[in-house]
Amino acid sequence: MDMSRYLRKFAAAAAAGVSLFAATASWAGEITIWCWDPNFNVAIMKEAGARYTAKHPETTINIVDFAKADVEQKLQTALSSGTSDALPDIVLIEDYGAQKYLQSFPGAFAELSGKVDFSGFAPYKVQLMTLDDKVYGMPFDSGVTGMYFRKDYLEQAGFKPEDMQNITWDRFIEIGKEVEAKTGKKMMGLDVNDAGFIRILMQSGGQWYFDDEGNLNIENNAALKAALETEQKILQAGIHKPAAGWTEWVSTFTSGDVATVITGVWITGTVKAQADQAGKWGVAPIPKLDIEGARHASNLGGSSWYVLESSDVKDEAIDFLNEIYAKDVDFYQKILVDRGAVGSLLAARTGPAYEQADDFFGGEKVWQNFSDWLAQVPSVNYGVFTNEVDTAVTANLADLAKGAPVDEILKKIHSQAEGQMQ
């Protein structure tokens, strides 16, 4: 009937056959990529694309910029409806959600183990994208945490930068009280509707909402308990400036109202955006929980790239990720300097940018610090229900602030989370 269609199919099949015989990969596809944040992920992916197309001019890289919630919603809708036409070739997924996608949509993502050398990446990052001993993603940025502090405020309160290194949370609170007494500034901004701070503390204690088998780990979770106790102490000491939502939280330090910021390294760009605060900031490892095995290092957020199994340029997309993200050390120097992105490729640490001192932080080698801490981040199992348990934790933060016993709060979190995990 429609001969031209058959002819086209035949031509495509012939072309595919030819490409099989080609010795080197000479692809001519268009790789579509979904990600969020034009100043970070999108810009970094553009840089990666430019590097790849310089060597492979036949390849076109098409980056689509959405809000994070929209990327997740579109991905989830397309995967559940089973229409692969609507899907991109590469998608960015936040690490907390990785297992959720891998487990609820089996076969949707391309396996990368065997094609990429994963031994070069931070182990915690590889583990979170592994399912049944198969690795499915390309590790990207790390959310390794640090404590940014205002040297000027602390000096007024009588503390030197050395006094902020390797402290405990109790000491942090003591310093906070001093700072408020002497300068009238609060020690930190705290989003009272968000469990991010709890997650930082809990992971620094080497545990998560789940054990290694993915079972709920709340009531006997020493790290979570210590995290909740610490937040309660901070709330009761009143050394925090409360914030509702992300924007308000960011403005606590951009407006100079607080003396420290404790979060993932990706905030560096925002901190440095306040040019008038140059030279006033220092960086220290986060304070340590008072439990066995706790470290001065943790992680918040971070995401990775995933190739869709249904992609018609799957091999090309994998080759692209492998060539840039798993091998190009120079690329990591560029995105570090331009965007403040600390990648999880360990070899990148030896590059020149990591050795550089940053004038904004008074000439400290902050990047070297962050990459040292990166190697120390405890590896935990993010499981598939992090969002659910996070909601349960958030729901109980109001009671925590009112001074309810932590054991009781753990019980409540457990029972709400249990109802959600079905």
């Binding site: 997740e72 959720k100 609820s104 598939v384 229900f385 909601t391 958030t394 959600q420």
Partner: protein, 298 residues
């Protein structure tokens, strides 16, 4: 010729009629009837994402023991029980005030009150968020006026967060309902009011015994529409609380929970479909009750 016989002619018209509505019927079947049936079937399945298996009434049992669902249900009921009457009464009062022929700048007031419901939802949510921040305009004003001692934690206290949602809803939708009443008020015969005035009925009496009964069909309509709207409440809560329904699940609604179950959490399509049927049942029952309460008793 067969077509000229009466039976044949009837069939000729029948076939033609069906042919005319066939496109619409096909579209309705594909995009309305099929999804409704499919989601009913879906509500009997459970599992992670696409790994679904038949669960019978498992999802319905899960409803009873799910604290978040119960919180969402309670919040949704609180929102419409408190908000709908406030808004309807406010709209009625505003409409009858703005219907006063002696009032000056009527057009301006009508437009000003109607404007919120055509403004962009996201824009107004962002605005509300900054206005009601701890150190926002509203708190500064309240403290400056001496109405409150300390700033009200609008977005971080479970009680005040509910109040804020109700305020936002009322601000946005009162004008919309008012327009219906204004239109209906034009249709009430002036001579009825005139007769009442001659009989010495005071203005509140005219409002209570003439205006309200005459507006009954419109009030019924707006109440049902508002109730359905509030039961399906999603946008305001999503935008004001960053999709969390916080603090402490105090503003989570059934629709927001469905969204979270589908897009934020481990996708649980079956359970989400079950909750969407809870909304269907609630809307059906409440609409029936409202029709029943407002029926003509003659």
């Amino acid at each position: 010729m067969a077509g000229l016989r009466t039976g044949g002619l009837k069939r000729y018209y029948d076939v033609n009629g069906w042919l005319f509505i066939a496109p619409a019927l096909a579209l309705i079947s594909i995009f309305l009837v099929y999804p409704i049936i499919r989601s009913l079937v879906l509500s009997f399945y459970s599992g992670k994402g696409m790994m679904m298996r038949f669960a019978g009434f498992g999802n319905i049992e899960r409803l009873a023991s799910d604290p978040v669902f119960l919180a969402a249900l309670t919040n949704t009921v609180v929102f419409f029980v408190v908000q709908v009457p406030i808004m309807i009464m406010l709209a009625l009062i505003l409409a009858s005030v703005l219907n006063n022929p002696d009032l000056r700048f009527k057009g301006f007031f009508r437009t000003a009150i109607f404007l919120p419901c055509v403004s962009s939802l996201v824009a107004y949510s962002v605005l509300f968020k900054s206005m009601f921040a701890v150190d926002g305009v509203v708190n500064s004003a309240l403290v400056a006026l001496g109405l409150v001692e300390v700033p009200i934690p609008w977005l971080t206290d479970p009680f005040w967060a509910k109040v804020l949602i109700i305020l936002a809803l009322t601000w946005r939708w009162t004008g919309y309902n008012m327009i219906f009443y204004l239109a209906a008020l034009q249709n009430i015969d002036k001579s009825i009011y005139e007769a009442a005035r001659i009989d010495g009925v005071p203005s509140w009496g005219r409002f209570l015994y003439i205006t309200i009964p005459m507006l009954k069909p419109v009030i019924l309509f707006t109440t049902i529409v508002s109730t359905i709207g509030t039961i399906q409440l999603f946008d305001e809560v999503y935008n004001l609380t960053e999709g969390r329904g916080g603090p402490a699940n105090s503003t989570i609604t059934l629709s927001l929970y469905i969204y979270n179950l589908t897009f934020r959490y481990m996708p649980s399509f079956g359970y989400a479909a079950t909750i969407s049927y809870v909304i269907v049942v609630m809307v059906a029952v409440l609409s029936f009750l409202q029709f029943y309460a407002a029926r003509d008793r003659s």
